[in-house]
Symmetry: C2
Subunit: 596 residues, 2 copies
């Protein structure tokens, strides 16, 4: 089996050197997260991922999940034991609320751990991942009683959670959902309907499963204005809060799918199941969207995580595989051939991955830090700015990191040549697993629409203008030549194109909404590219400073070299994005549907 090594040095680079998270030591929870503590946690977490989760990954893929006749789901061998170890190790509680048993550590730490979990076993990681999303929704929208009942048990991992949105006839367009909720007269509701594609919907690893379900209360308005959120536990909690009577919700089938076979993707049938309203009537979507926003960042992280593993697999392969000779003369003259890493085109595929992974990690952790600042920073101005950034960056992190992450894994597979297509080398599984990230939690096209249709214009364009001002300030502050200059220039140029595209969008998008739709994906990619240009410029700045202080760690020199690959190979894409955006809707809308 190929090897995975927890990328702890790069985690430390991003957290301590790039983001300098210690500067926020006065924030609740941050003071406990000293560099030593963070190191110790990530080191232990990394070992767990390397030694427990990674060895289960292929088995999980091959065995998949099975539905028994009694409606119970069998998960792959070893998953249940690993789940117990995972929860007992406290890994579900890292950044959860201490009031309910969480450790209250910063989100960026939680996401660093989640990255490693996903890198080593994405299908496994989705079980606690979904729980964490459900915890978030209950924390935001639940009553005090609901929080006290559910949160401690879910944060400990004793109970797990799911989110139930999709129905056979409606996914993106939730206004059409039909699942019904009828008041029982005792404060509870009877929930009836069918939900599909419910990840972790049924499994035996936790003592109870807490389903968060969107449904329409009898007599509620049609469309999105009549949707409420319910908590529907698999086992109804008794007086003492222990799992009691079995609720009328059952797994009716498992989806056969391309990847993430170790995770149970369930059809869930609600047949008058007992549920309780979360938040207000008809306001369920709002809570679900808060939860979904967090989940979207998590999906972006998955793009990064799988790309990291693919990079490691392909790097090892490229160093080991002897085939052909360097174009500039043998580099391994005593061997029968050179390792394929000598070939420029193999290096292209490796550097493309590395440049993605490191840029994506910086962007993901930076965004996760915004989540911490939004929640916890004492200064309202900082909270507001962080909240703006979270709103703006969420669709970009979700879609750009999964589109490019998928490409990155595919590059990793390609480095393997024919071996990449075989099961044995593990990388084809990564590509199959990665494919879902472009789809779930809102397809990447929906993210792009969210960006151009909502996030761009929100609050009088305050978020985007704040972001642009930050980039401009960085450019202004870091003039002055030297090794940093091409990075500053690359950022300035990319940002100028994004500014131009933004102006075009505001003008033409209002003129004809289809212009906004036609530009959306290209705009999101140009935005993602600009974020990467910013992250690489910031990473270059740190590296230049360290090298100026004669730092011996080879990471700084490597960062500059990978950064220069980014400038040479990624930045040129900006022009193509801009040209496509400015070509408008006409080339997309001209052909009648029947002429396709």
């Amino acid at each position: 089996m190929p090897t995975y090594r927890a990328p702890l040095r790069d985690h430390r680079f991003v957290l301590n050197e790039l983001l300098n998270v210690q500067q926020y030591n006065d924030i609740e929870g941050f003071s406990e997260a000293t560099p030593d503590i963070v190191d110790a946690i990530l080191e232990e977490g990394g070992k767990f991922c390397e030694n427990v989760l990674h060895p289960l990954n292929r088995k999980g893929d091959e065995q998949g999940c099975k539905l028994r006749q009694d409606g119970e789901v069998v998960v792959p061998e070893g998953f249940a034991e690993a789940y117990t170890q995972f929860t007992e190790g406290g890994w579900t509680a890292i950044s959860a609320d201490p009031e309910f048993g969480g450790q209250g550590l910063p989100h960026y730490l939680g996401i660093a751990m989640s990255e490693m979990v996903t890198s080593t076993n994405m299908a496994f990681g989705m079980y606690p991942g979904l729980t964490s999303g459900a915890v978030h929704a209950l924390a935001v929208g639940g009553s005090q009683e609901q929080k006290e009942l559910y949160l401690p048990r879910m944060i400990s991992g004793e109970w797990s959670g799911t989110m139930n949105l999709t129905e056979p006839h409606c996914g993106t367009d939730l206004g059409m959902l039909r699942t019904k909720a009828v008041p029982n007269g005792d404060g509870s509701y009877a929930i009836t309907g069918q939900k599909i594609w419910i990840s972790a919907g049924e499994h035996p690893m936790s003592r109870n499963i807490v389903h968060l379900v969107l449904a329409r209360i009898e007599g509620a308005p049609e469309g999105v204005k009549g949707i409420s959120l319910f908590v529907v536990p698999k086992f109804l909690p008794d007086e003492a809060g222990n799992p009691g009577e079995r609720n009328a919700v059952k797994c009716g089938g498992l989806e056969e799918k391309m990847g993430i076979h170790g995770n149970a993707t369930c059809v869930m049938n609600y047949d008058g199941a007992k549920g309780w309203l979360v938040g207000e009537e008809n306001k369920g979507l709002k809570i679900m969207f808060i939860m979904m926003n967090q989940a979207r960042l998590g999906v972006g992280m998955q793009g990064l995580a799988l790309a990291e593993t693919a990079y490691q697999y392909s790097l090892d392969f490229a160093k080991d595989r002897l085939q052909g000779r360097s174009l500039t003369g043998p580099k391994n003259p005593d061997g029968p051939a050179d390792p394929i890493i000598v070939h420029p085109d193999v290096r292209r595929m490796l550097l493309d991955q590395k440049c993605f992974v490191e840029g994506a990690r910086a962007l993901t952790f930076w965004t996760a830090l915004q989540g911490d600042l939004e929640e916890k920073h004492p200064d309202e101005a900082v909270r507001e700015r962080a909240s703006d950034y979270m709103a703006l960056l969420t669709p970009i992190v979700k879609a750009y990191l999964t589109d490019k992450g998928y490409e990155s894994v595919s590059n990793g597979l390609q480095v393997h040549g024919g071996s990449g297509f075989t099961r044995e080398w593990g990388i084809e599984q990564l590509l199959r697993d990665a494919r879902i990230t472009l789809i779930y939690e809102g397809t990447n096209g929906i993210q792009a629409l969210d960006l151009v249709g909502r996030k761009l214009a929100m609050k009088g364009m305050r978020p985007i203008n704040t972001f642009f001002a930050e980039l401009d300030a960085f450019v202004a502050e870091n003039q002055g030549g030297g090794e940093l200059e091409p990075f500053v220039k690359g950022l300035a140029e990319t940002k100028a194109k994004l500014q131009k595209a933004t102006n075009w969008l505001v003008e033409k998008g209002l003129e004809n909404f289809d212009n906004a739709g036609a530009a959306s994906t290209e705009y999101l990619h140009l935005f993602g590219l600009t974020c990467f240009a910013y992250m690489w410029a910031k990473m270059a700045k740190v590296s230049v400073q360290k090298l100026g202080q004669d730092a011996a760690d080879p990471i700084y020199d490597a960062k500059l070299k990978i950064g220069r690959y980014f400038l040479a190979r990624w930045v040129p894409q900006a022009d193509a994005h801009l040209a496509r955006i400015e070509s408008g809707a006409e080339p997309l809308m001209a052909l009648a549907a029947e002429a396709f």
Copy 2:
């Protein structure tokens, strides 16, 4: 199951209207291929693919092939019956040599049929596909006796064929191969060694399997100069040419892989198996490469074929799936939502596929026509020019059409949203099947090296200069405004960038070979894009003419609209390719292998 409809109208457009193949009626074999005959053949072939092969595709994927303990391979249900029907229908013989039982029809007809076979069942199509490659190698390199023994039986499909190159330690670098051939003293050789990844290596569908095997004769020079080609039949032909004694070659295992499960990918163990030299000693690679060049065109065609099916699946989905409303107001006001084809971003994914499929089909058929002209045209100058084009275009068709074809299938999957990730809709299989096309018959990186390292400079750059002159002439002849103008302009601009990149390559690639390696993939893509710009300009020209003659068929108007999508969305990529090429090798070579 989703539907496949043979794209006969577009086949006719390309053959009759774009390529005007009737102009070559004086060539052997072409005179029989009148438009009526071609129509009749493709119509019948299309029905076979729709009705026989397509329904077997998912079953083939799910059942895969199984190796029995006795070394025999079990293929998916229905495959053997379909194979019999396929051979009895004469489909293996369409463009084969009449001297040995072939129908002698043009290659372009064979490739049009192969496209439909691959579209409906790629794993199945590889069985006769590999035979066809082996036929070609024997036709080129075999003795008259070998031809008479093998060709009629293989052309009829009664016997099938394979090609055996790869060994565990060598794929691309065949110089390292170890399989040995020891003379038996009776004109035959004893072949011993292990070959891997042998497609169609063992199966029960044909009465005999003819393995073409690369091996090193005892005492031969090391490296590529000591490799010979052998024909090694599974059953040794008796005096009457019937399959006799079992030869000492066995399938030692089946590869578990990402896709094309219906095709048996075998480990083949040769244990003193009896084989006969094909062609001269130590000259085996030359014949194998002739065969491989034909196979590479076939792989490019596979990129097109799977993209066609993905396009059809996703188009049907986009017309049927009701979700959300058009940004410019309801288009299906009586329904609960609009079909998703109203959304610009869904149209982007559909048009991107359509623009690829139609451009790729034009390019593939045009290249196949060059193969016919190279073989059969009475004028030596035409034959030479066609031969130049075949050499130049082969790596481009192979790599560009599979890189972009894979992207195209992925777009088709994305149109399906969550459904795309499930088995039920069939498209995830297409994506898994398509992934191999970027790898086999030489990875796409190897194709790019072939282009910049061999094809560019061959014969004093005659092929590329001839091609450039053809493009320049088209641009010069078609000035004059009107609807054609943007196409001519798009072609001229793209070609100018390719010219610039070529000049850079010639200068900088000779200075430092790593510059050529670093530029190779981007250069191949810029070349592919230029070929597409040419094909779309030619298709636009035909369409403008037809519309000028008041042709009522909606295809002409559609071609112009899809072509304008190409200009708006594909052509801008040229700048990014050029910028990356001109950035040179340094950003790729700077990082030491141990610093990755």
